[in-house]
């Protein structure tokens, strides 16, 4: 078999740095391949070993989080977390960030963030029943910030409303530390029969690899290529890095996938998230311990003249990759055609343990999968503890304005003022199961169609606490999620998290991260409230200044009877009772 055309060795090393690989990381690429990589291979290594895909800075810490409980069906490691909620059902949920894209193009960035997290959930067989979000904006007076806030809110609504998944809750903070780096974290909760969960591990040598959804374009191919004119001789400006969402296609994809999942044709399925075709094919084959061969000529393409490199790195939205049982292609295709979606067999599984990419009669990549995973960089980066803040004695603090004025100032402050203008743009009732809408209770409550049972859900984090003391802040965020769930009458079951931090190569940032994880782990253990999924977003910095440490927590709990849900509206004639020390 012929080998992929290697890059010029000196150029390859230079390019690897542009693609974000460190020198020693590139040395490992050379060792694994035993030769200089082709452009496509370098692209695959660089995305698989990116912080985003490999969790190389955070993994050692994430491992310390408690992830088990009798009701946990699948913890971290799958597309989303899965817990048993009774009646033979499972709740599937996860939270994910779309911070940087939302800064570049707020509407589309936020919209595609919602689209991505929805796919993570329905790819496991769940019908999405609710969306939530956790937003951090800069000072409204900062440049562009009003447009960012407006665009993000409209983008979340635009996507969720169109796919018909109610947006039932969320939280918003403002702080100048987010001026150049707003955070957009989106969460989806779905429901599936507990014995019909779909996983991503590929199996069955010879089984077809199937591509469904939208066509592939040059969306979101990372900046480095844009900079290297060589790959875009025909005018760089034609190559937008912004991904555009198509919630209409996503809605069709949900219906088509659920229809296919009701049959027994699927062996494995995964959405194409960041670095779409690369991460999905590598992860599916890697998890299954098999090889995979792709024929890119068969990939549905939106643009003319796309290269193997571009197709493997494209982040076009609304696409999924599946392994089907042999001989079932035509039946599956009929379902996707009915929903007017693209469907293509683009490869098959092999027993070689390698990923082989063919395009236009040439081999563009040939990489052994095991070392791509086992040799992936893993860092235990140095940490510096956050200096302890002095503890203030509240009784010694002067009260210059009086309690009424203080209360008015607080209620009118950005962090506490009404969020109605936000959730008035989100369809919170579609589905007809929303028992507690935004603003109605400490957590949203959604009933399960046809059953008494309901789920409660919430997102929580107070970044200024985390800045003052990341460990206590991490603890507090978990505890607040737990309290909000119990406050509506639900039994808290598990959380997902979205760890938003600055540059992990700085010890003080890594120290914040480690401390927040410590605090979260302590709270999760104490409350029997495991982490079942999550996402990490690092390098949230502008001109060297980091955002506040923001470990956003998404909590889910169950109510045996949704009719028992309690809201927060006070009614005349009731007694007020305070529980706990003030």
């Amino acid at each position: 078999m012929s080998l992929p055309a290697p890059l010029d060795p000196a150029r390859a090393r230079k390019l690897s740095a542009e693609f974000g690989l460190k020198g020693d990381e590139y040395d490992r690429v050379l060792a694994i391949l035993g030769r200089t990589p082709s452009l496509t291979e370098l692209g695959i290594f660089s995305v698989m070993w990116s912080e985003h895909c490999s969790y190389k800075s955070s993994r050692v810490w994430l491992r310390t989080l408690p992830t088990k409980a009798p009701w946990v069906i699948h913890g971290p490691g799958e597309n989303a977390g899965v817990i048993a909620i009774g009646d033979g059902l499972a709740a599937i949920f996860k939270m994910e960030s779309h911070n940087h894209p939302s800064f570049i193009e707020p509407y589309q960035g936020a919209a595609t963030g919602v689209g991505g997290i929805l796919r993570d959930v329905f790819t496991m067989g769940a019908r999405p029943i609710a969306n939530l979000n956790a937003l951090r904006f800069g000072s409204p007076d900062a440049p562009r910030m009003k447009r960012i806030i407006d665009g993000v809110v409209r983008g979340i609504g635009g996507y969720g409303n169109c796919v018909g998944v109610p947006t039932v809750g969320g939280e918003v903070n403002f702080h100048p530390a987010y001026n150049g780096n707003p955070l957009v974290n989106a969460m989806t909760v779905g429901i599936a029969p507990a014995d019909r969960i779909f996983l991503s591990a590929a199996a069955g040598i010879g089984n077809p690899v199937v591509y469904v959804g939208s066509k592939t374009g040059r969306d979101g191919i990372h900046g480095a290529t844009m900079a290297s004119a060589e790959f875009s001789a025909d005018a760089e400006e034609k190559r937008p890095t912004v991904q555009i969402g198509d919630p209409f296609v996503e809605k069709l994809l949900i219906e088509a996938c659920l229809e296919l999942m009701a049959t027994d044709m699927i062996v494995a399925i995964q959405d194409m998230g960041a670095a779409g075709l690369t991460s999905s094919s590598v992860e599916m084959a890697g998890k299954g311990g098999v090889g995979i061969e792709l024929a890119l000529d068969n990939v549905p393409q939106r643009e003319i003249g796309m290269t193997a490199y571009e197709m493997m790195l494209s982040e076009s939205q609304e696409r999924m990759l599946m392994i089907l049982k042999p001989g079932r292609e035509a039946e599956a295709e009929a379902i996707f055609r009915k929903w007017e979606l693209d469907f293509a067999v683009i490869g098959h599984l092999t027993d070689t343990g390698r990923i082989v990419i063919r395009h236009k009669g040439a081999i563009e990549a040939d990489i052994p999968l095991a070392p791509l995973e086992s040799e992936a960089p893993l860092y235990r980066r140095p940490t510096a503890e956050t200096p302890r803040q002095p503890v203030l004695d509240a009784t010694t603090i002067a009260d210059p304005v009086g309690i009424t004025a203080a209360l008015q100032t607080l209620v009118g402050s950005l962090d506490l003022c009404s969020r109605r203008w936000i959730w008035d743009q989100y369809d919170s009732t579609v589905g007809g199961q929303t028992v507690q809408r935004p603003g109605g209770a400490d957590a949203a409550v959604v009933k399960l169609e046809g059953l008494k049972r309901g789920l409660a859900m919430t997102t929580d984090c107070t970044p200024r606490y985390c800045l003052a003391d990341p460990e206590e802040g991490g603890k507090q965020a978990v505890a607040e999620a737990w309290r909000n769930l119990t406050a509506v009458g639900a039994r808290p079951l598990a959380i997902t998290d979205n760890m938003n931090f600055g540059n992990p190569e700085k010890p003080e940032i890594m120290g914040q991260f480690a401390a927040a994880v410590r605090g979260m782990a302590a709270a999760c253990t104490a409350l029997d409230f495991p982490v079942v999924s999550g996402n990490v977003s690092l390098y949230n910095e502008t001109n060297g200044a980091a955002i506040l440490p923001t470990p956003a927590i998404g909590g889910v709990g169950v109510l045996e009877d949704a009719a028992q849900a309690v809201g927060l509206a006070l009614e005349p004639g009731l007694d007020l009772v305070v529980i706990g020390d003030t």
Partner: protein, 232 residues
């Protein structure tokens, strides 16, 4: 009453509608995919539910109005069949010419998701039989393009022939600009055809048929239909 709920690509409130219909009739409606070219035998009521058919691209409801099944729905209506369109379904009925007028972008240009109040302007139709004339009820709305528009001539006819079924109002029943969140002409929230058989409205009575979801204000529409159609 045999109800059929049409599902277009992008329809997303068909389940809400099915729940409301089942609650009122005791039987599940038939869910009909838009590619079908015939209505089931014995259909009493066709419902075009809410959602974003074809992504609301171009104009809300424009592409769905051209679907194969819509020729059947038009024929059914022409023969005096009952057709209800809610939200996107209302937009589709207007685009298909089964009801007059059009639904423009909300005056605020924003998607509006909130409860609104409506006054029943025409009681005694198959859709409003269980309300008193002038009754006020609540329903969620959730739309970006619900701003009802029609030209002067059409408006005069709607008023003269008493075809305005619902108007946006305050909880007390007063017609104000503030209660007319989407900017609709003359506070119009819903209309009926001259034979009273075709009805379109923007808000979602089907989402308020259960005390658990905040009330049963929307239920009379469905019980009215059951009574009117069972008698027919």
């Amino acid at each position: 009453m045999k109800a059929v709920v049409v599902v277009f690509p992008g329809t997303n409130r068909e389940r809400d509608m099915a729940i409301a219909l089942e609650r009122a009739t005791g039987r599940k409606p038939v869910m009909l995919f838009h590619r079908e070219t015939a209505l089931p035998a014995g259909t009493d009521l066709v419902v075009l539910p809410g959602g974003f058919s074809y992504g609301d691209y171009l104009r809300c409801g424009a592409m769905a109005a051209q679907s194969p099944i819509m020729r059947e729905v038009a024929g059914f209506a022409a023969k005096g069949g009952h057709v209800l369109g809610v939200c996107n379904g209302f937009q589709i009925l207007c685009e298909a010419g089964l009801l007059p007028g059009a639904l423009l972008r909300n005056a605020s240009l924003r998607f509006l998701s909130m409860d609104c109040h409506m006054r029943v302007e025409r009681a005694g139709t198959p859709y409003t039989a269980h309300w008193q004339q002038g009754a006020v009820f609540r329903a969620p709305m959730a739309h970006g393009d619900g701003n009802f528009f029609c030209d002067d001539e059409t408006h005069a006819r709607l008023v003269a022939e008493n075809l305005v079924a619902f108007r946006y109002c305050t909880p007390e029943g007063t017609l104000t600009d503030a209660a007319n969140r989407n900017g609709a002409r003359d506070n119009i929230a819903g209309i009926v055809s001259p034979n009273l058989r075709v009805c379109g409205l923007m808000p979602h009575p089907e989402d308020l048929v259960d005390p658990l979801m905040g009330g049963t204000d929307g239920l009379p529409m469905f019980t009215s239909l059951v009574d009117s159609l069972a008698a027919a």
